[in-house]
């Protein structure tokens, strides 16, 4: 997502559907129609390979040069009972010839691999949209499983849609009859048949997928060829059958992107790369202590693949040991990280408090998911903000950094590392399920552009006693940053003991002195409050009279995409609205209070029950209006646009 670039005011997704259906066919052969953007949703059973299908379509689209944004949506169960509503897995992809910000509110093409997928997704599909259904699955039992008494393909209930009935299973089996596969084996390639069909419909390049399939099934060449054959058969079916009269072109989004080399990247991958880059830029070995938890595990998986970067990954016995080991490695001079989600943060809280007291650098990566408790493991939410902010005993301030888009997870990881290393403190990196699994194009940075994160370990005495003796004081602070020296074991003469008991200022020795405790609590707070974070810049384009907006929308984290898309729509409709988006939630940017005071109305959309709004009200006495959604799904741009318009005209 290339937010820097100006973009046409976005139209609603429903309007897109009309565009796709607009007639204008003339001449021989199949018509090719140009579109500026498309939203496709692949939906099927958990075992149908919808995530893979979506990933492949995304890769094809990325290599074609469209801007894109994705929303994988899947159940927590690995294989929920086949054909049931809870077992439906889907993948939505929005791609365009200009820069876009969200995976789209509503698909204009739904691929439904079975009755459950149709039923679970139909409510999101605007009338007039195209629906491609696998008719082979619309038999009595699968339909009965989801409560269809009559076939929706025949009873007229889909009359408002442009339905393409395709016997995907039969066609796939037919295409693979020479492979000598069992029916069951052949059937499994039906997702590739569907991918081939959609690739034809939208003129996607196919080489990448064929290469991918041959690599994925390198050890089973016949399965690889079967999948390639199914994929090609899907393409050819589109080209041949009369049911698909039109195909669509969405031109590359060349103008939307600054010059550079691009790739597609998901939030968890970008975050992993950010951590490796931070380790490289700090010239410190990366140490990850982690315990598997959805949706954070992919970072553990990814980092464990890069041992040749000197990355140590430790899969601990529990969440507490994950962060404990990371803290131990930090004491030893590593760039230490622990990755988790909300329930894991709860378990790590005591160790985060210890890290606050020890004043050692430590990254705590929280890929937020729906809560409380186990909640919704595979769905997104932003409800750990106050846990990150306050979820410890005592006064234990921790800086918080939040990425705003999948690709931004890379920069956010570097920024969190900067703060941790400079100020010798644990830092929260608050991503979420939507960023973690969603993907978008990313301009690959030049290594030379990356910040220098090198640190200086303590190497000798830093204090002179009254009698002239040179000593090392582990809690003697840097006057500028208030950071204490990082003296790692192995450094002669700096042997020292640190712990969770209150320490005497300077010496770090145990101290129960009341005045000292008061001083230390305030000093630790002052250190975090004094962290350098950039001022926020308000996006508030003045109108012809030089007049700015009266209403400000303020967000944080992954709501950036939908909020910005909604702001564009509101502006497109002729209204004025200002926007700011926070990356640093603790400390907040110094100019934030002044910015908030400039506006009559401040709207704060969040995927929680108003946690940031609570903080803003407390800190700035501002009447922040909270707009909240906790459905486990990201905001839809159109709904937000309505909320903003209402607020403006309120």
């Amino acid at each position: 997502m290339t937010s820097q670039v100006s973009s046409p005011a976005e139209q609603t997704d429903a309007a897109l559907v009309a565009e796709q259906r607009a007639s204008g066919n003339g001449g021989e052969g199949k018509e090719v129609r140009r579109l500026d953007r498309v939203i496709i949703r692949f939906a099927g059973d958990s075992g149908d390979g919808m995530q893979l299908t979506g990933d492949r379509f995304t890769s094809e689209t990325a290599s074609f040069g469209n801007d894109l944004s994705t929303l994988p949506n899947f159940p927590a169960e690995i294989r929920a009972p086949a054909g049931t509503l809870p077992g439906v897995s889907s993948f939505q992809l929005h791609f365009a010839d200009h820069d876009i910000l969200t995976p789209g509110d509503a698909p204009n093409v739904l691929v439904a691999m079975n009755p459950a997928a149709l039923k679970a997704n139909l409510a999101d599909v605007p009338r007039g949209a195209e629906i491609i259904v696998n008719t082979d699955e619309f038999t009595k039992r699968p339909m009965a499983k989801v409560g269809y008494a009559t076939s929706p393909l025949e009873d007229g209930s889909l009359a408002a849609y442009n339905v393409h009935p395709v016997p995907l299973t039969t066609l796939t089996i037919e295409a693979l009859k020479d492979f000598g596969l069992s029916r069951k084996e052949a059937e499994r390639s039906k997702n590739m048949f569907a991918l081939g069909l959609l690739s034809w419909m939208y003129h996607r390049p196919t080489e990448g997928t064929e290469k991918f399939l041959r690599a994925k099934f390198a050890k089973k060449p016949d399965i690889a060829e079967a999948n390639v054959t199914a994929f090609r058969a899907g393409w050819n079916f589109g080209e041949t059958t009369e049911d698909f009269a039109v195909s669509y072109e969405v031109a590359p989004a060349t103008k939307a992107f600054p010059t550079g080399t691009y790739r597609n990247i998901s939030g968890n991958l970008a975050l992993s790369y950010g951590l490796i880059a931070a380790s490289k830029q700090a010239d410190l070995p990366l140490y990850l202590g982690s315990y598997p938890i959805t949706p954070a595990s992919d970072i553990l998986h990814e980092l464990s693949k890069h041992k040749n970067f000197g990355v140590r990954t430790f899969q601990a016995e529990d969440e507490i040991a994950g962060i404990g080991a990371a803290l131990g490695a930090a004491f030893g001079g590593a760039l230490a990280v622990t990755t988790t989600s909300g329930p894991g943060v709860a378990l790590k809280s005591e160790t985060i408090g210890l890290a606050v007291s020890l004043e050692l650098p430590l990254l705590v990566v929280d890929i937020q998911r729906g809560g409380p408790s186990t909640g919704l493991p595979t769905k997104t939410e932003q409800a750990d903000l106050l846990q990150a902010m306050f979820g410890r005993n005592g006064e234990a301030p921790v800086p918080i950094v939040a990425p705003k888009t999948p690709a931004d997870c890379f920069d956010a990881a570097l920024d969190a590392a900067r703060i941790a290393l400079t100020y010798r403190t644990p830092v929260f990196l608050l991503s979420d399920g939507y960023l973690a699994n969603g993907s978008e194009p990313w301009r690959i940075p030049d290594i030379d552009e990356l910040p220098d994160l090198r640190v200086q370990f303590a190497s000798g005495p830093n204090h002179q006693l009254a009698d002239g003796t040179e000593v090392f004081w582990p809690y003697k602070r840097d006057e500028q940053t208030l950071a204490r020296p990082w003296a790692v074991p192995g450094t002669p003469g700096l042997e020292h003991r640190i712990g969770g008991i209150e320490k005497q200022d300077g010496t770090g020795n145990i101290s129960y002195d009341p005045a000292n405790h008061d001083f230390m609590v305030r000093t630790r707070q002052a250190k975090i409050d004094g962290i350098e974070v950039p001022d926020i810049e308000v996006d508030d384009p003045a109108d012809e009279d030089g007049q700015g907006a009266g209403t400000l929308v303020l967000g944080w984290g992954s709501t950036y995409g939908p909020i910005t898309a909604a702001v564009r729509r509101v502006r497109g409709a002729g209204e004025r609205i200002a926007q700011v988006h926070l990356r640093h939630l603790n400390p907040l940017p110094r100019n934030l209070g002044e910015v908030l005071a400039r506006y009559d109305k401040v709207i704060v959309p969040e995927m929680n029950l108003g946690q940031l709004a609570t903080l803003l009200r407390a800190k700035y006495l501002v009447d922040a209006r909270s707009h909240t959604q906790v459905s486990g799904m990201p905001f839809k741009a159109e709904q937000l646009a309505e909320v903003f318009k209402e607020a403006i005209n309120d």
């Binding site: 890769s59 550079g260 000197g310 004491f331 074991p489 450094t491 042997e495 003991r497």
Partner: protein
């Protein structure tokens, strides 16, 4: 199972990456400037003195030695050692030490913990550290009571213990730390007693030389809340009958001396059950007496030995090294994987990583 190796080669592997001290060290080099604040008469003083006295023998650069502790009386230990140290949070020392030891193989990392710290709140970390065989030396001070919280029963207290939290007696059966460690795949397990400086030092020596996790249970007297808990093992007369001193390669004999100079009691295998039992060698002869094999690949006999002790009376308590076997060390394996990855893929190049395989270029 791996084969056992001699102690001398273990020593080389366990400590070979830790730099040596430039000059000869003395006990006072290891004393910090902090006032020791245990209760007068506490068994912890003896252990501290033994550790400080033994450290110079290792001859390691003291800046490469780290003591990590949890919470409890014994966990104040690191403050008194003039090395690097961390007094962490309750039960988590093995986890923290694992991160340190697995990222810094040039350090000699020691964990100091107690029966509550290691076996209650931190039980999970203890067993997993043992299973992994990280290069850690764990000193478990067992006083069979909670001292710092002023006298509640602990997971090693005998059943029926009357304490502030159990006025009618505790209900739960205790852990035998040695049995627990053996069950957790420990490669080195030993037991010693705070008051026996010589034995304590000899056990520490073997633990230090062991590559991997070494667990040393130290029976330690809390003279305030559980005074005399180990008296039976310390009183000269009673100890003769109560303590089974294990020495590798020696027959397991104890008790008042028999005519051959060794103890009049011996440990034999009961042919009927396969279990171990204590016999009077003067009545039954010495033929069946087991010779202690700390290096036996199977932990079965060590476990059976650990079960001889009566949890209430402590009669037939084995002390010494119950098990010491060579097993792959976690931090070595972790480090080897890094080397192997570099060998296979070359040293990581950030630009190549970020670029990946599927890119497209936008020209202005």
């Amino acid at each position: 199972m791996t084969e056992t190796i001699s102690e001398s080669s273990s020593q080389i592997e366990a400590l070979s990456l830790v730099p040596k001290a430039d000059a000869k060290q003395s006990m006072k080099d290891f004393k910090s400037d902090q006032e020791v604040r245990w209760c007068p008469g506490c068994g912890d003083y003896a252990v501290l003195a033994a550790v400080q006295g033994f450290m110079p023998e290792l001859g390691l650069a003291k800046e490469n030695i780290v003591f990590v502790s949890g919470i409890g009386c014994s966990s104040r230990f690191p403050y008194y050692m003039n090395t690097y140290g961390m007094h962490s949070i309750h039960g988590r020392a093995p986890a923290i030490a694992t991160g340190l030891a697995s990222s810094r193989r040039d350090l000699s990392v020691w964990v100091v913990t107690g029966d509550g710290d290691a076996l209650s709140i931190g039980g999970n970390h203890l067993i997993h550290a043992l299973r992994r065989n990280v290069n850690l030396k764990i000193l478990l001070f067992n006083n069979r009571i909670y001292g710092l919280t002023k006298g509640q029963y602990s997971p090693t207290s005998e059943v029926g213990k009357i304490t502030k939290s159990t006025p009618m007696g505790s209900l739960d059966a205790p852990f035998n730390p040695v049995s627990l460690a053996l069950g957790a795949e420990a490669s080195f397990v030993a037991r010693t007693v705070d008051s026996d400086r010589k034995h304590l030092t000899s056990v520490l020596r073997e633990a230090a030389a062991h590559p991997g996790t070494a667990l040393v249970e130290i029976y330690q007297n809390c003279n305030i809340f559980n005074d005399g808990a180990f008296e039976v093992l310390k009183d000269k007369e009673k100890a003769e009958e109560a303590v089974i001193r294990l020495e590798h390669g020696q027959p397991i004999r104890f008790g008042a001396p028999a005519p051959d100079g060794l103890g009049s009691k011996g440990v034999v295998r009961d042919p009927a059950t396969g279990d171990l039992k204590v016999i009077d060698v003067e009545e039954e002869g010495t033929g069946g007496v087991l010779v202690h094999d700390a290096h036996s690949p199977s932990p079965t006999t060590a476990f059976a030995l650990s079960r001889l002790a009566d949890p209430d009376t402590l009669h037939h308590t084995p002390i010494g090294v119950l098990r010491s076997v060579d097993r792959p060390v976690y931090d070595t394996l972790m480090s080897d994987q890094l080397d192997e990855a570099i060998e296979q893929k070359g040293k990581g190049d950030l630009a190549t990583l970020l670029t990946g395989n599927d890119t497209w270029t936008v020209v202005g």
